[in-house]
């Protein structure tokens, strides 16, 4: 009996999917649910069942009846809507029409993403002047008077000893002066170098400087923060390594490399078979810089890093010519 009911249900569900118009559907209803319908007939037999079986089979039979009725009415409504058309006799395979939208610059998109990651670690986002004094761009950063970086071949010089900032590091001392310690901040922004342009170099590009000053900040902290950032940004666990690097405003200074994300460190053409990609200079802030910021280097220490932001944007979107970013070409910009 139970099997009979279940078979009946299967059979109905199978037949109903093949029905395409309301006439046939009505026939099907009569066949199963009508006064002399198959289900009705089965239901009639319930009364002849043994007493102990009656409630169980009765319940099942009723459930199946309800289900068939529900499927029937759903199918009926769909067929009705299809037949009447409701003014929908157009070609739905035509391409969708869409409202045009504007676009954020790809650098803006990546910048906001990075800002949000650092914001979660308590870093504020700040910016500052682009026309800068020698003091903040070099002197306060412990860059000696005769350091090659001050040369005309690296820096754009303006009148009155002013310059176009060559690094976002110009904000290190400005921010310490303004906010004091403890401090956590990032400074994204554009910087300028007096160098010829090609597909991978531009005279105007973007850096993202980071600075953290507090009590007892160490190298391990720097690595942990960067690892945390990079793993979130690249959405995968990344390995980093430090090796010695020299920059006047950090001591010790490092180059941070990231294990090649293409080959996972095995060595490939992207990482020149080394398994590592040079990512950014960083280090513990030089005591003279902390002092220039008006803090006591005996009390405070900190780290600084300078992310080659434009390069990250190019990596993210596989952009092979840096100059596209500032071309203003809408054919390029509309892709983001």
């Amino acid at each position: 009996m139970e099997k009979k009911l279940k078979d009946l249900k299967e059979q109905f569900l199978k037949e109903v999917t093949e029905v395409k118009d309301s006439k046939l559907l009505l026939d099907l209803k009569t066949k199963y649910l009508g006064r002399k319908g198959e289900l009705t007939n089965v239901l009639k037999e319930v009364k002849d069942l043994a007493v102990e079986e009656k409630p169980k089979i009765g319940k099942l039979a009723n459930e199946i009846k309800m289900e068939l009725a529900s499927v029937f009415s759903k199918t009926e409504r769909i067929i009705k809507n299809k037949q009447s058309g409701g003014g929908t006799d157009f070609d739905p395979t035509m391409p969708g029409t869409r409202e045009e939208t504007g676009h954020l610059h790809p650098s803006t998109i990546v910048q906001y993403e990075i800002e949000d990651i650092f914001a979660q670690m308590g870093f504020g986002v700040y910016d500052g002047p682009q026309v800068e004094s020698e003091y903040y761009n070099f002197t306060a950063l412990n860059t000696p008077e005769d350091h090659p970086a001050r040369d005309a071949q690296d820096t754009f010089w303006l009148e009155q000893g002013l310059l176009l900032r060559s690094q976002t590091s110009n904000l290190q001392v400005r921010m310490l002066e303004k906010f004091g310690a403890p401090f956590r901040g990032i400074f994204p922004g554009r910087v300028f170098r007096n160098e010829a342009t090609d597909a991978s170099h531009d005279h105007t590009f973007y850096q993202l400087e980071g600075l953290m000053v507090d009590k007892d900040i160490n190298i391990g902290n720097l690595i942990a923060v960067m690892k945390s950032f990079l793993s979130t940004f690249f959405n995968t666990e990344v390995d980093v390594r430090l090796r010695p690097g020299f920059f006047p405003f950090v001591e010790p200074g490092f180059e941070m490399d990231i294990k090649c994300l293409i080959c996972g460190g095995e060595g490939c053409s992207v990482c020149k078979q080394s398994g590592w990609l040079e990512l950014m200079p960083c280090g513990l802030i030089h005591p003279k810089v902390i002092k220039a910021g008006g803090l006591d280097p005996k009390e405070y220490s900190g780290f600084a890093f300078g992310l080659g932001f434009t390069r990250l944007v190019m990596m993210r979107y596989k952009i092979d010519d840096i100059r596209l970013l500032q071309s203003g070409d809408l054919r390029f910009l509309k892709q983001f």
Binding site: G102, L158, H203, N221, I223, A224, R243, P252, G328, L333
Partner: protein
Amino acid sequence: MYLSLDWAKDWIKLPKDLETKQLALDFTMAIVEVEEVIERGANLKDIVVGKINEIAKHPDADRLEVCQVDIGDSVEQIVCGGINLSKGMLVAVAKVGSRVKWHGEGDLVMMAKTKIRGVESSGMIAAAEEIGLENLFPQKSDKEILDLSELKLKAGEELAEALELNDTIIDIDNKSINHRPDLWGQYGLARELAAIYKLKLKDYPNFELKGKNETKLKVTVEDKKNCFRYLGLAIKNIKVAESPWWLKKRLEAVGIRPINNIVDVTNYVMYELGQPMHAFDAKHIEGDHIIVKQAAKGEKFITLDGENRKLPEGALMIADAKKYVAIAGVMGGQNSEIGIDTSEIILESANFRAASVRRTATAIGLRSESSTRFEKSLDPVLAGTAIRRAAELILQLCPEAYIASKLVDVDNNPFKPVTLEVSEELINNRFGLIIPTAEIKDTLQRLKFDLKYKAKTFTIGVPSFRATKDISIPEDIVEEVARIYGYDNIKFELPKVNIDSPSVNLDHVAARDIKRWFSLSQKYYELYNYPFTNQAWAKKLGLELNNHLRVKNALSPEQVYLNMSLLPNLLARAEENMRWYDEFRIYELERTFDKISHGTYHTDDSRKKFLPKQDKYLAGVEVSKKSKEDLFLSIKGMFSALMEHLNVEVEFEESDIEYASIAYEIKYKDIILGQFGLLEDGLFDSNDVNVNVAFWQLNFTLLLKYINKVKKYATLAKFPAVYRDMAVVVDKGLKWADLEAEIVRISPLIRHLEPFDVFSGKGIEEGQKSIAWHLEFRSNDRTLLAEDVDKLMDDILAILQKKFKAILR
């Protein structure tokens, strides 16, 4: 900078099982970046010493010979065109399968067995340039093959082996050792290797000078400020000749072309110690007198390379009693060059102020091996070590030579000994790890620091070769210990700090909001432009180039002036994009630069002077096929919406802008926040431009002050509104703003007016227009009745009839 491992073996013994790849990695991780590891013998694979047994004329070619060459295991037949072939000659044979540079040009090619004009030939008798040995064996002609007869070699021996060229060269990135004057010589690099591998480092020998005092050499340093030390020594009875093989080989390994024994020795010492040296031909030094002084304005001097160079005023020069003989630290002069007839020399080993050498080298455009080293602030002590070493080598190479003067030493070394007190705690705290005390001690001692340890504090004497600029503060010692101990050992741990939210940068929050608003709700494309203004467009907009901040060392004449407005570049980009699109909207948010006024950023810690004002602007351009009216009103509507979004109550006021056919100001109270308008026609170069162009700009820095985040909601209306329409015919010149002002004044029950149709022409008298609008009436305390509204409609009409002679339609 090249490090030859063969050379370094003079002082250290590298672990036998150390692979060069690992050495390069360790070097990079603890010292400086290695660019490349060069196995010097690699290109000499399958190139062997051969002995020519027989020579016969090629039957079919006048200029070729057929040689039978003994290469140890076999005798091979090789066809060769060399002009110096002779029987019994020892030659370099590139066997089949080896790789050579054909005629010294192009890429390496693989040797194969071949027939040359019908005669079989297995391999090649090579010229020096074909196997990369042209520096060691200079060729007189490209037809000359390498003659090894003078060297006592065995036929069949691998050439690299026979010539002892199986050296490994570590190529170090020069930029990464700018701060390390001690790493510009082989000995300094060996010292680092000794530290990382804990090897014994042989002390550098100090050669005892013994000689006569025939030459009364005199050194006068006039410019003590720029010449820290000058040592001179005369050596007589030298014989200028070719250097011995071991010397040539080492120089060549580090990229120096051997010249003659004297010059080679000065170069050898420079590469060994990092100390540049110079040798003068003593017969050209007047009065045996060396004077160090500054050049006067406009003087010229011919350097060794034959160039007549204009000297910058104040350039430090080496002179004799009558003339200049060298540009200090940069290059020697032609007038005292070592030649084949030189028999007496004066050796110079000196130390000059880094900045002085750099300034001179830059001014004359000559960066030499010498100036490159002096620029790093060399240790003056080194000059003494170097001249002794050079004298030793010269006496070794010229057995008849003898020292002919006293060692003259004018020493004004300005560098004071550096002693640092460094607590062990500082090292461990900065490193974030406890390093065993013994390990710290061992590392520092291997790096030649002088150490005392007491009460958990190191008293550290910095060796003179690290004390000229490199090591000056305790943090420098942290780095020394940490890099040798290994950065890989650092346990990384997020900083433990108090949670405090950073101060919010309103500027930045607003910028993000506004950019999203424009890009995601207003169909605007965000552009990044260069800071250099487009001059053609600046002129079109009437911006005087002289009022712009100027770049003194611009890359090109187009990149001289800094943007005082964002519009010139935006309009230039708009013009370019017209090639691809006929309708688009673009904007930029960036700083502009004001030559005349000062902003709030101070120039230094005295906080008395301020940088030029560099307010951020938000500016945009819309290129559109809409009518001028529609375009203008859509821009106006956009600003109404934006200001509502920012909760800034602004007014729009007509304004005159020279490049606009119509322009309005955006004002908050009396403050002008920005402008918008339509660009005057005809400013675009292309003739077939059939679009209208709107422009706008807002002073973002100013706007920020008035963005109001405090917003209070208005209670929802309790009573229903009544809506009516009205249409009148009025004078065509009547402005909606005037009409609206009259109507709203009538009653506070009139809540809102919205024009929906303006029409003139057919059915309307000349000079008149029909204007229709929706009206909304509502009261806060009751439901308005039809009669109330009818009365108001009558009042409105009456006023309009009276004020504007309006006729109801």
